[in-house]
């Protein structure tokens, strides 16, 4: 199946620099339909406003964490199968286990490289 690089990707992180880094790297990989949110709550508002095809989210955010956002997305019939990648500094085994049990598609620890981001996206949506 050919990956549609026009797919809509939502970047969620409370640090503007991190959102910019992910946006730059996704743009270089050929994805251009990108949007941003500063926390889980804003991400949910975006999900209600427009079509989102994939979420790349941080974990540690306020008022709503990426972990809570993941659980919300998986609990909604419309979004339960949406590709969801966590990009986070949370790297303890209990975090990874909890995220997997909550249904995360893949897990990237910070700091990360563009190659890592690409390989995790490929593992979730296929080669491009």
């Amino acid at each position: 199946m050919t990956v549609n690089k026009a797919m809509s990707i939502l970047i969620v992180d409370d640090y503007s620099t991190m959102r910019r880094i992910v946006r730059n790297l996704l743009t270089q990989l050929g994805f251009t339909n990108l949007d941003e949110a500063a926390n889980g709550k804003e991400a949910i508002e975006k999900l209600q406003e427009k079509q989102i095809d994939m979420i790349i989210s941080d974990w540690n955010m306020e008022p709503m964490t990426g972990f809570d956002l993941l659980k919300h997305v998986r609990a909604d019939a419309k979004t339960k199968d949406m590709p969801f990648i966590l990009v986070t500094a949370e790297s303890k085994p209990e975090n990874i286990i909890a995220a997997k049990q909550a249904g995360v598609s893949n897990y990237i620890v910070k700091p990360f490289s563009v190659d890592t981001l690409k390989s995790k996206i490929v593992s979730v949506i296929g080669a491009f």
Partner: protein, 217 residues
Amino acid sequence: MHDIQNKVGDALLKSLVQLKEQKGNVSLGDVGGIFMQMASSLHPTATEADQFMHQEIARLAQYIATAKKEIFVISSNDKSEAVITDASQHLDEVIKATEVASHNIMDAADAIQGAAAGLGGEKEKQIMDATNRIYEACNFQDLNGQRINKVIKLLNTIEEGVDKLNKLFNSSAEHIEAPKTDKPLSDAELLNGPQHSGLAPSQEQVDALFASLGEKK
């Protein structure tokens, strides 16, 4: 230990003999009274230990208050001499300053990529690779920000703990919350932030654990 037991036994016997000589009969209450007297005499340092702990905690509380004033009071170069006394505010300024610096660095990287676009060949690839490494390196601002927030929370926790202990010794009526019992990790307890660079797992180790947990349901 055997020596102490012998001494205690001797002291008890002497007290009982003296009491019988004085009163004629020794009641159970008399025996209990002797035991109470001996117990307090065997642990003469209990009150001293409490006093010592009280003094040390009060000293620690004072030390934290003084350290905050000494370390975090600064004056700017301006003649108005802005003063920052709140540790959290000071560290927040560090986070904001590194955010601005990171954006400036990435602005420059964007400009370099823009200038290199269209060069073609190996030169363009080298420049794009190098600027990508700049973007990757800018991860530092996020990680440092999280570490600083962790330090702020730790400072606040230590200060709260010392304050509680200090109040405990100053007010016998003060209610202290019982420590939490063992229970499954809550969502909040999963928020640990970046680990020390020597302890943090590699992406490969994370991938191995993730893969071992099976397919997503």
